[in-house]
């Protein structure tokens, strides 16, 4: 199937590794992601946009762009996905907001196409994993971290239980990994303070890493570049701040999917990770 792809700012800068794994996996599975030529920043952390009209207008620009092609939009960043999807829902719910926004961006909005996260797409597109998996991720204990934005406010990913989402866990289990049960799946990592007040991130992300470690995870799987940078890039800072040792590699879910699908790990940009995942992967005989 063909989708309009909205990579978002991060995938173009700090998270090229994520972008690469999305590309590799979708190519392999024959999912066609056509990048929108004229997308605008979604305004990610809404908290930083003072005006609701603007916070709706930014994603609306992209939605309007996608309208042209009548294809569902796919985002791979949880924050972008959340902005696009909740804008989409809100505009559908309040017609007067829609009119206001249309005026502001000078374009009409159909609100008919869907907004999806790449995780949902993987889930919908592939029905039979067993037949295409080359290498089961046997014995890998993963903690699936959804972050706060993937599931809220309204079952953003259609998963039934927003406080205990299963979609990524199910995917991991299909890939042969063991996903652990843990209580911080949807706890916020504090991303919006990443620059203005990093100690907030150190505290909140520290709690997430600790919970994952305590629950027996060997690595964390994420679906968002912001989560990744907080848990991976800042992990050593967090360790210092909390005076704890984690050593938990953080993967994007398509990276693990790629490994299972037999894509050569050298095609993935795993070397961009700060916490080196290689020893773990070697230990588990996955590379």
């Amino acid at each position: 199937m063909e989708y309009s792809y909205y990579p978002g700012c991060s995938l173009k800068s700090s998270s090229k590794d994520y972008a690469e794994s999305v590309k590799q996996v979708s190519d392999k599975l024959g999912i066609t992601l056509i990048e929108l030529s004229n997308w605008a920043c979604c305004g990610a952390s809404v908290s930083h946009i003072p005006e609701e009209s603007l916070s709706l207008a930014l994603p609306a620009l992209t939605i309007a762009e996608a309208d042209k092609y009548s294809r569902d939009i796919v985002a791979s960043c949880a924050a972008c996905f959340n902005r696009l999807k909740s804008t989409h829902l809100l505009l559908g719910k309040y017609p007067e907001k829609k009119i206001e926004t249309e005026k502001l961006i000078g374009k009409n909005l159909s609100v008919k196409i869907n907004v999806k996260h790449f995780l949902e797409v993987l889930f919908e597109e592939v029905k039979d994993w067993d037949s295409i998996i080359i290498k089961k991720l046997k014995g890998l204990k993963v903690a699936c971290y959804y972050g706060c934005l993937l599931t809220r406010p309204n079952d953003m990913i259609k998963d039934g239980k927003s406080e205990d989402p299963r979609m990524m866990d199910n995917l991991m289990e299909k890939l042969g990994a063991a996903s652990i049960d843990w209580p911080f799946k949807t706890e916020c990592c504090g991303t919006s303070f990443g620059l203005s007040k990093p100690e907030v991130v150190l505290k909140l992300s520290g709690r997430i890493l600790r919970s994952a470690k305590k629950s027996g995870a060997e690595c964390i799987v994420v679906a968002c570049p912001l989560c990744h940078s907080n848990l991976d890039l800042r992990q050593s800072q967090i360790e210092k701040y909390n005076n704890l040792k984690f050593d938990l590699p953080v993967f994007y879910f398509p990276e693990l999917a790629a490994l299972a699908l037999g894509i050569d790990y050298r095609n993935l940009l795993l070397d961009k990770h700060i916490v080196d995942p290689m020893p773990l992967l070697r230990r588990k005989d996955l590379i």
């Binding site: 605008a40 207008a57 620059l195």
Partner: protein, 184 residues
């Protein structure tokens, strides 16, 4: 001290903008309980709701709730009265900015600065360059060496380049439009 009755000006303003009826809030405090950022706030979310109910405009607008909020949507998602607390918080911030009310609490003063840069970044670029964003922030907030330890790592891992500058016409237009309406 509340002396002259309690009107609903602020509540009505929020209702007009968001369709949210704040009088549905029964002050259970679940929003604040679930908010992992409430420790940063002088006014946790439930108390902000109460201030709005009591029409304590000054206190509400000068609170730092909306600077402390990380937009994780937990409060809205878990509110038993189905109040979209986050939208209320965002709306209070809009009003505060429009009316140029300053935070009475200094501890989160950096956040608005970051916010301004972020906006300029978007307007100038149509998407965010995280490096520029960080650098700019450090300059403005006079914290030159913050996060500096991450820089070499970022550089080495090629995490600092960004997408080529695209057309910024669209966003500029929106911002112009908004200035006409509310004057950010």
């Amino acid at each position: 001290m509340i002396r002259n009755g309690i009107s609903q000006t602020l509540a009505l303003e929020i209702e007009k903008r968001t369709k949210i009826n704040v009088f549905g809030c029964y002050q259970c405090g679940k929003c604040s309980a679930g908010c992992v950022f409430s420790y940063l706030m002088d006014t946790p979310p439930h108390l902000l709701m109460r201030l709005i109910q009591l029409d304590m405009r000054e206190k509400a607008l000068s609170s730092n709730t909306f600077w402390g909020c990380g937009a994780c949507v937990t409060c809205s998602f878990r509110c038993p009265r189905e109040i979209d607390v986050l939208r209320v918080i965002n709306t209070v911030r809009s009003i505060a900015i429009e009316e140029r009310v300053l935070s009475r609490n200094n501890s989160l003063k950096d956040v608005p600065i970051f916010n301004e840069i972020f906006m300029n970044n978007i307007i100038g670029n149509e998407h965010v360059n995280e490096f520029l964003l960080g650098a700019n922030f450090n300059l403005k907030s006079l914290k030159f060496f913050k996060d500096i330890s991450l820089l070499p790592v970022l550089y080495k891992k090629d995490k600092l380049t960004a997408r080529k500058k695209a057309s910024t016409r669209n966003i500029k237009k929106i911002v112009e439009g908004l200035k006409g309406n509310n004057g950010i």
